[in-house]
Symmetry: C2
DNA sequence: CTGTATCCTATAGGATACTG
DNA sequence: CAGTATCCTATAGGATACAG
């Protein structure tokens, strides 16, 4: 994260959460930590590769944390860090905004 | 906009404002309408192609409006629509969030 | 179950030149 | 000034197969 350029703060934020899956991952983790497979399932349609890549980058940026349980079969859980949680209001507002717009579009028919 | 799929509201929102330049354009228009060239200049580093593409899509999605003044030389201004303005809180919060994180990173050195 | 490694395609996006 | 048209490269991202 330290090596990301930060021309404009908004751009910086969008770099962190603006990619296709990142905001969704964070959003789904708002309710609490989740097991890897479970998280991936909630993201319907995400490829295996993108899932791994997305959580790895979010972890690098310290927005989520990865916990490994030494069990068999292996078990991994992801949860928000305090920094990740600090995005809660923004994520919820974006979700609400989208829901309202969608509703309005439906009404127009 | 009507033809965008809306699996998840948050995803819908991100589709509208999550691309590289869109949120920046909206953000810079919060203070009021701007002339095309002026707007493009504030976005430092945006290519001609991407600028046109970005404002066209934002216009299609009814987040900004394009006004043409019949003058010579030609003059075009862009401004937020009511729908675009309704994103103000979100945009400002994302900008604030980014600024705070950047500050924290700097302090750590 | 969790994750890695390839391969492949589609798209994003920049540079440049040109038009009304 | 505002915008279009090409061409080109880099990256995003999916599908599949495989490993611990």
């Amino acid at each position: 994260m330290e090596n990301k350029k930060y021309e404009c703060p908004l751009r910086f934020t969008m770099d962190l959460i603006g990619s296709k899956w990142k905001s969704l991952v964070l959003f789904h983790l708002l309710k609490g930590g989740m097991r890897s497979g479970e998280l991936q399932k909630t993201l319907k349609d995400i490829s295996n590769k993108m899932f791994t890549q997305t959580v790895r980058e979010l972890e690098e940026d310290q927005l989520i944390q990865r916990r490994i349980f030494p069990e068999v079969p292996p078990r991994v859980e992801y949860e928000l860090t305090p920094l990740g949680k600090s995005l809660e209001d923004i994520l919820i507002q974006m979700d609400d905004w989208g829901r309202n717009v969608i509703e309005d579009i439906k009404k127009e028919r």
